[in-house]
């Protein structure tokens, strides 16, 4: 309790940051409503077209125009918070307000072998490693697969990927799926782990994930999942990859408006089937590099757009799927560290709720545990930074300053021993040794320490196992999927 009255006193509980004003956020949202009402979108799924028509959209063939009132009703019915539990039903991710969580991303085409550093095709056993590493890292809150396994039957690599992950982490899993058939299996597996479908709905430890094809095209396999999630009362992340200059105008405001519009098409279908269904909008908004045509995961425009989408989603009161910890660099180097650090800091400052793609390298083509482990360290730094500076009588410590007086030191003060651990962050990988100490410890680079730590986690960390009965059920479902896939490919 302070001793005196303070009038009109304001405290910053965290770092303040704003890319867009309230009016600008609203204007981008309204532009998205206008895009949907005027231009509309193409939807390649009969069932969803029926749902959208029933919701009040104007449907001509597969072109859907959405009256603003219909979109607004969906935005209003979408919950402002989405909670994810861990595999044991503990509430772990509370995606609401300005809360920020971090994790990796899905479906890279290549993977950096954590033992050899070689860039190669992802395998199922890599998913075991990804899950174990995420399970271990304190600043990674959930798991995605960092690469599509290519050593299993192609058509069910999503099922295999989930199978490997769910056995090796208790953290929530956000997972892609090719189609509804595969999702049926994945959800059945998740329900087995959760102890039944209703338990899974009440305490979801998975999210479904799909991506429309901007500008304003929704493939059957993308939007059917938004519809499916509504029917089955499961959280869905509906997240476009919007390419400024390519699949969107070259101006950043238009890129935001168009991407928001694409997320809203999924939202309208999803909410019409289940008002209040957990829905997370996204996703990756960035530029097409006009020299190489890559979809940049490290440019300053990417950073601005990531802050922008987080703020527009916050205005809409819908949790957002952010993007950070990634890089355009093809290897673990200074560029990779610099880009990851900037995006993680900005995602945190912008209040992006569920931030993905930590561990993405080579403009998203390659998944890397090295990048993930480095990201974990950076997130640690950023978390401390975001706590800001606490200002009150105890933290101003006038008494202590007076006791020590001019020329003294504070190392022996009770106040110091009471506060230094709470006020400071302790690095794991970052070097603060003196030169001689650093030399004596092997004169390693940050990169070498990251590789060493990654390999140590893989060798030593043992995630909590699942019960044998559950494992047997998972085996059965995977075997059934394999048989179905064999029959299908025979045809």
């Amino acid at each position: 309790m302070e001793e005196m009255v303070r009038a009109n006193y304001m405290a910053n509980q965290s770092v303040n940051f704003s890319m867009l004003s309230e009016n600008e956020r609203e204007r981008i949202y309204l532009a998205a409503l206008e895009i949907l009402e005027r231009t509309g979108a193409v939807v390649h799924d009969e069932e969803t077209l029926e749902v959208l028509a029933d919701a009040g959209c104007w449907v001509e063939d597969n072109r859907v125009r959405i009256p603003s009132g219909v979109t607004q009703a969906a935005v209003n019915s979408a919950p402002s918070r989405v909670v994810f539990c861990d595999r044991n039903g503990e509430r772990k991710i509370i995606a609401e307000g300005d809360k920020v969580y971090f994790g990796p991303g899905p479906t890279n085409n290549y993977y950096i072998d954590p033992h050899t550093g070689e860039r190669r095709d992802p395998k199922k056993e890599d998913k075991v490693d990804v899950a174990k590493t995420c399970d271990y890292l304190p600043n990674i809150d959930y798991v995605m697969d960092l690469g599509t396994p290519k050593d299993v039957q192609t058509g069910i690599s999503d099922i295999h990927s989930f199978d490997a992950m769910v056995r090796n982490t208790t953290k929530p899993i956000f997972h892609w799926g090719f189609d509804i058939d595969q999702y049926e299996d994945i959800i059945e597996m998740a329900a087995v782990v959760a102890g039944g479908m209703e338990e899974l709905q009440k305490r979801p430890f998975i999210a479904l994930y799909s991506e429309p094809t901007p500008p304003l095209v929704h493939s059957e396999e993308a939007i059917a999942k938004a519809t499916y999630a509504g029917k089955h009362k499961l959280p869905i992340i509906y997240t476009p990859c919007v390419m400024s200059g390519g699949t969107a105008p070259a101006t950043l405001a238009a890129t935001l408006a168009l991407g928001v519009a694409d997320s809203l098409v999924g939202l309208v279908a999803n909410q019409h089937l289940n008002k209040g269904n957990p829905f997370i909008m996204g996703g990756v908004y960035t530029i097409m590099d006009m020299n190489t045509t890559v979809f940049s995961y490290g440019s300053p425009e990417f950073l601005a757009l990531q802050a922008g989408i987080a703020e527009v989603a916050s205005y809409m009161e819908i949790p957002v799927f952010g993007t950070a910890g990634c890089t355009d660099s093809c290897t673990l180097d200074g560029q990779a560290a610099g880009e990851a650090a900037m995006s993680i800091l900005i995602a945190a400052q912008a209040g992006a709720n569920v931030v993905h793609d930590v561990g993405y390298t080579e403009y998203g083509s390659t998944g890397s545990l090295y990048q993930l482990v480095m990201g974990d360290e950076i997130i640690g730094m950023v978390k401390r930074f975001m706590e800001g500076i606490k200002v009150d009588a105890e933290h101003l410590a006038i008494e202590v300053i007076d006791q020590v007086g001019p020329g003294g030191h504070f190392l022996g003060q009770e106040h110091t021993s009471k506060h230094f651990k709470n006020e400071t962050w302790f690095p794991d990988l970052i070097n603060r040794q003196r030169y001689s100490g650093w030399q004596a410890a092997g004169a390693t680079t940050m990169g070498e320490r990251i590789i060493e730590k990654t390999q140590r986690i893989l060798a030593e960390h043992e995630p909590e196992p699942l019960d044998d009965a559950v494992l047997k059920e998972l085996d059965r479902i995977v075997a059934r999927a394999e048989e179905r896939e064999r029959q299908r490919t025979k045809k």
Binding site: H44, T107, N109, T154, T247, M290, N291
Partner: protein
């Protein structure tokens, strides 16, 4: 005397109207159609290609230059003498069945057109039978297929198999591309070439035709 240098400059600048005007002036002034193409339009476009490679020009500028060149071409082409052709080869392009992601393929088409290749773009969601139909109709030197999804890229193999069944495989070269498509995969399914981006796809196709 037609001012080919200015025509090239306007192609480089991507000035659609100016290129059309200058081309028409050159035609009206009695310049040889072949010379208008080679010394004016193509000359400008090859400078664009060079500057793009060196990082001095960017994709949207290349796109505008190609558009300007195409406008000029449309005016000159009907005037070409029998046997003269403005193209170095024909490419049939498409994004495979089940796949709607085509920005990369569109870039490839643009790059190829700017290198005087005739491009027949079949669009998205093209199934093997449609590719084969187009091959029969247009008799291309090269067939190009793109995919963004690991599942749909298997359609490339189905298309190659159907080309074989129809006895068309030896009549053309096949090039493939798209984010999940690797050189190894290309080899596995019997494609002739793979390219990681639009500019190198164009280079590879020119090599294949050569």
């Amino acid at each position: 005397m037609a001012d080919f240098e200015r025509l090239s400059e306007e192609v480089i600048a991507g000035s659609v109207d100016e290129v059309a005007e200058l081309t028409q002036e050159a035609i009206d002034g009695g310049a040889e159609p072949k010379e208008i193409i080679n010394q004016g339009l193509i000359n400008g476009m090859s400078i664009v290609g060079q500057r793009f490679k060196e990082g001095d020009m960017f994709v949207p500028e290349v796109m505008m230059a190609a558009k300007a060149m195409k406008g000029g071409m449309e005016l000159v082409e009907p005037l070409l003498a029998e046997g003269d052709t403005s193209t170095v080869g024909t490419v049939v392009l498409g994004t495979v069945a089940g796949d709607l992601h085509d920005i990369g393929k569109n870039l490839v088409a643009m790059m190829m057109e700017s290198a005087s290749l005739k491009v027949v773009d079949l669009g998205i969601d093209v199934d093997p039978a449609e590719f084969v139909e187009a091959v029969k109709e247009h008799q291309p030197d090269v067939l190009g297929m793109s995919a963004l999804l690991t599942t749909t890229m298997l359609e490339m193999q189905n298309t190659i198999e159907l080309l074989e069944e129809e006895g068309l495989r030896d009549s053309l070269k096949v090039i493939i591309g798209g984010a999940p498509v690797t050189p190894d995969f290309g080899e596995e399914i019997g494609a002739d070439a793979w390219a990681p981006d639009a500019a190198s796809a164009k280079d590879k196709v020119l090599e294949l035709i050569d």
